[in-house]
Amino acid sequence: MHSLTASKQGGYASFINRGVVRSFFALLCALILFAAFFLFGKFRQIPEETAVTVIDPAVAAMDIPTLRKQIVLTENQLRQMDNRRERMFPTDPAILVDSAANQISLIRNSRVEIQDKCSTGTGFELSDESGKRTWTFDTPRGYFRVTGKVANPVWIRPDWAFIEEGKPIPKNPKERAQANVLGDYAISFGNGYFIHGTLYTRLLGTSVTHGCIRVGDETLKKIYEAVRVGTPIWIY
């Protein structure tokens, strides 16, 4: 049937042989790896139904009507507990900052009232010339509270701002003040961190700050008007 020449047959045969040898070698390696994985693994995987395998003796002694009654009772209790937990989130304004997506939200009555792009920390590190002092430009994660509100804020430049620019650190505190760089409003949330405006609006949505949260002018105004000292902030 086949009109192949001997040399061509030989070529195909060696091709097949190589393929088969390669496949068996791959299979052998995979099996060895599997064996190593299962032999040396000291962990156990938790079975899916661990939770329901043990029946409490009190439950085991119940008859069908009692069981049904208990189920209805427990379901009602669970519903109440669920409601109670849902009510724990404040109805007053709260700020959520998604630092991965660079997004800020104002939540009121558990509903998103304002949502917009923001900018959070770069995560970069800066050391001074001596290497003794280091700063990490991260936006802190966790729970915070609004500690202050300022209109027309003036930035009191910290040491790192001068070191980053390669300028000497001034001895006179007045030389640290810089107006018109934080936007119209600043909302402080402790340790020198602020939610404030920006001159670099085109960079909103990216991580470019030294740890503060930069917001566009319109959104900043709305948030500034909605929050008061003590308003919770969650950054994640």
């Binding site: 790896l33 000291k42 962990f43 156990r44 937990r85 995560g123 590190e125």
Partner: protein
């Protein structure tokens, strides 16, 4: 006589072998796991109701503990063993939710009270970009454009060490978007073997109580990124 197959015959053979590895072995293990369940036979109404009540009681216990945590404003981490999920929450509101792909432990009993974090230990250190004094903000913006730091650079394998000595290990598996099935399979295998190797090498392997959660690699990084400095964790079975 040497059989002559079509030119792509050996390729088919390789694919068949790969399929065998991928489907055959997991199928064998799943058969072993499920054979026990089938032998149990059908359940009576009483057993069904008992099981339902036990589930509800577990859920009640979990909710009680979670509500106690949610009274404080600090974020907390909730691990649902049966649901296979992990949630970062504050005041009962989910900030982020992750799906647990695989869960392993060397613990006989899982602690059912809230645990307090002691430290987050990355398995591999990822160095952050450094700014030199005098580089200025423009250099920072340029570095950001080059994408030198971000979610893609943070550790994907890390340990959450708790004050009672318990360790919650977070390990990454290839994401859903990882190429074709054989590539994903091999990556999965590599990550698991690497983890076993690290576990064998680690000095604290015998005394540590470990729960290990395997997440999608993007989820693992996002979790690391989002973690606050201090938080509590609650592991619930219901």
């Amino acid at each position: 006589m040497i059989p002559i197959l079509p030119k792509n015959g050996s390729l088919k053979l390789q694919w068949a072998l790969l399929l065998f590895i991928q489907l055959g072995i997991p199928w064998t293990f799943s058969c072993q796991a499920s054979s026990g369940e089938k032998n149990g036979g059908t359940k009576t109404e009483t057993q069904i109701l008992q099981q339902r009540l036990v589930e509800l009681k577990l859920r009640e216990k979990a909710l009680l503990q979670e509500n106690a945590l949610a009274r404080n404003p600090e974020p907390y981490l909730l691990v649902h063993l049966s649901g296979g999920s992990l949630e970062l929450k504050a005041k009962g509101r989910i900030l982020r939710a992750f799906k647990v792909k695989r869960l392993e432990t060397n613990l006989e009993t899982i602690p059912d009270t809230a645990q307090v974090l002691s430290e987050v230990k990355p398995v591999q250190k990822n160095d952050r970009p450094k700014i030199k004094p005098g580089d200025g903000e423009a250099a920072t913006v340029e570095a950001v454009r080059k994408n030198l730091w971000g979610l893609h650079r943070v550790p994907q394998d890390f340990k959450l060490v708790f004050r009672n000595g318990m360790i919650l290990g977070i390990r990454a598996l290839p994401s859903e978007r990882t190429g074709v099935a054989p590539v994903k399979f091999l990556k999965n295998l590599y990550r698991k073997i690497l983890d076993r190797y690290r576990h064998e090498q680690s000095s604290d392997q015998t005394r540590s109580q470990i729960i290990q959660l395997w997440l999608d690699e993007n989820d693992a990084r996002l979790l690391f990124w989002s973690l606050p400095g201090q938080f509590k964790i609650l592991i619930v079975q219901g």
